[in-house]
């Protein structure tokens, strides 16, 4: 689904930034002075109706739409009012309709802003919440139980996670000291916040549960550092946020307690280059690649990344960079997950992903309810396969602390369980501890 926002031109009411408008809104409430403030006027709504209805958009309303009984067509064509901005978010069934609308609005008093980046990956699993932990049985061939039986749980290894956050008070982490930082999105506050780990979304908590959950994790003994760099509502981030978070991690890597520990960073994030305007894309790729190179070449970090959920033939960046180890998803019967991406790296021409991990219906922590009861759920995605791979690597690194970056990477690839699937779906096979 595509979205665009129709805004009254600011010149119509004064040049103000968002904060100014919100401040003025309070004043307006007190003084009942409507003149300074843009709002959804009848004229605006009528104009949208006149232009968009003939194009096939179904209706204009100032009330929150999306009734449950709305037809698919209506849901696709809804107008979401942003009263304080004097704007509507308009969802369109296709890009063509947006282009047609743009032409009609071009010379009028309205701005039309395409916002394709608002589209999110489709769910790959329906939601079901558990209040109790299920018995976790990592399959025998993973080697996880055997490792745990021998006391190998990832001790002495540092694992960094870039994600939506981590609920440090989930029962799976209560005995663990999670080093956590939040990197805010907005300018005035774009500094690290040293706060107790939280996660509005749950995705990061799920990833961290797979990594180091006390009774559900692959390597519960690792030292966990988590940076929250992804907005839970929009799943958006920026290179500056990521670099601020990694800068903090790298500083911590050099402290007395950490300087000799092997380091792995799990990044269940990636972007589809085609969604970035061409003029920005190439240099953004250069920026991210240099950032990854610094991690690998200067600080001996092994970056492990999810290949992405855009189905075979598609990959995200930086997953296909030669410096990263990319992980695809398989189910418990060793079949590649239908959503799991893959292909051939445009840089190295090598098949991607490099390796596979379990990524279908993975049970892990997700947060707490209002009564502080911990919750669990099953999620599917390469975001789940990547932390599995990360922690198999951590098990190896905890046994041999000389296993760093390339050596660790090679060892992981050399010990993988070969699978009956093409390399551009599962790489060299299933990551396992042997």
């Amino acid at each position: 689904m595509h979205s665009f926002i129709a805004l009254i031109k600011k010149s119509k009411f004064e040049t103000m930034n968002l904060e100014t408008l919100l401040v003025n809104d309070k004043q307006r409430s007190r003084t009942d002075n409507n003149t300074l403030f843009p709002k959804l006027t009848d004229e605006f709504t009528q104009k949208l109706t006149e232009v968009l209805i003939p194009l096939g958009f179904k209706r204009v309303t100032t009330e929150t739409p999306m009734e449950e009984d709305a037809s698919d067509d209506e849901q696709l064509s809804n107008f979401i009012p942003l009263n304080y901005l004097g704007a509507y978010v308009v969802n369109s069934p296709n890009e063509q309709k947006i282009k047609e609308a743009e032409k009609l609005f071009d010379e009028s008093d309205y701005d039309i802003i395409s916002d394709v980046q608002l589209s999110l990956p489709k769910p790959t699993q329906s939601e079901r919440i558990y209040r109790r932990r299920k018995q976790i049985n990592w399959p025998t061939e993973s080697g996880v139980h055997e490792a745990h039986r021998n006391g190998i749980i990832g001790k002495g290894v540092l694992v960094g996670v870039l994600d939506t956050g981590c609920d440090a008070d989930h029962i799976q982490f209560r005995r663990k000291q999670i080093d956590f930082r939040y990197v805010p999105l907005h300018y005035r506050f774009k500094k690290l916040r040293d706060v107790r780990g939280f996660d509005v979304d749950g995705h990061g908590t799920h990833v961290c549960g797979i990594i180091a959950g006390q009774s559900i994790g692959v390597a519960p003994g690792v030292d966990l550092m988590v940076a929250s760099v992804i907005e839970s509502e929009t799943y958006r981030t920026s290179l500056s946020r990521i670099s601020i978070a990694l800068d903090w991690m790298i500083f911590e890597f050099g402290t007395e307690d950490n300087r000799d520990k092997p380091i792995i960073i799990n990044m269940s994030l990636g972007f589809v280059p085609e969604l970035i305007p061409k003029r920005d894309r190439d240099l953004l790729m250069v920026g991210i690649r240099e950032l990854i190179s610094t991690l690998v070449e200067d600080f001996d970090v092994l970056p492990i990344v999810a290949i992405g959920n855009d189905r075979p033939g598609n990959m995200c960046a930086p997953e296909y960079f030669p410096e990263t180890l990319s992980v695809g998803a398989i189910d418990s019967k060793h079949k590649p997950a239908p959503f799991s991406g893959g292909g051939f790296s445009p840089i190295s021409r090598e098949p991607q992903p490099d390796i596979a991990g379990y990524g279908v219906n993975i049970f892990s922590s997700v947060g707490r309810d209002r009564n502080n009861r911990t919750l669990y759920t099953e999620m599917s995605g390469t975001s789940m396969a990547a932390p599995y791979g990360t922690e198999i690597a951590a098990l190896y690194a905890s046994v041999n602390t000389n296993f760093r970056r390339d050596i660790l990477r090679r060892h992981l690839l050399n010990t993988a369980l070969p699978l009956q699937a093409p390399a551009d779906r599962v790489g060299v096979g299933l990551a396992r501890f042997t």
Partner: protein
């Protein structure tokens, strides 16, 4: 940054609409030069390099009389890039500054996470 920029960043929480965030890539010591140095020392060296480059760029912006068009320069990190919020005109000009390798926009982007 200069007085104008400091004033602007302290008054507004978001930059004026004619400004955007740019990635400014800067020179840095090569990995070969840093080989054999421990992590903590490498961090210090790379960070010091970024701070030095940042200061050079700040001075250059001031010399060119462009500081009123710069909203903010993010704190330098260990990486060879600075994030500068400024007008496109400043961004174009910055490519001529000595410590600068390249300048590009720094877009926000959606990540490919899985929803449950």
């Amino acid at each position: 940054m200069g007085t104008e920029t400091d004033k602007m960043a302290s008054i507004y929480s978001v930059p004026p609409t004619n400004m955007a965030e740019f990635i400014v890539r800067i020179n840095r010591p090569s990995s070969t030069e840093l080989a054999g140095i421990d992590r903590a020392e490498k961090y210090k060296l790379l960070k010091a390099n970024s701070v030095k480059r940042r200061d050079e760029i700040k001075a250059w912006i001031k010399t060119q009389g462009l500081d009123a068009e710069v909203f903010k320069i993010e704190e330098p990190t260990v990486f060879n890039m600075l994030f500068i919020t400024c007008t496109p005109r400043v961004a174009t000009q910055l490519e001529h500054a000595d410590p600068v390798v390249s300048v590009s926009r720094s877009p926000e982007f959606s990540v490919g996470l899985t929803k449950r």
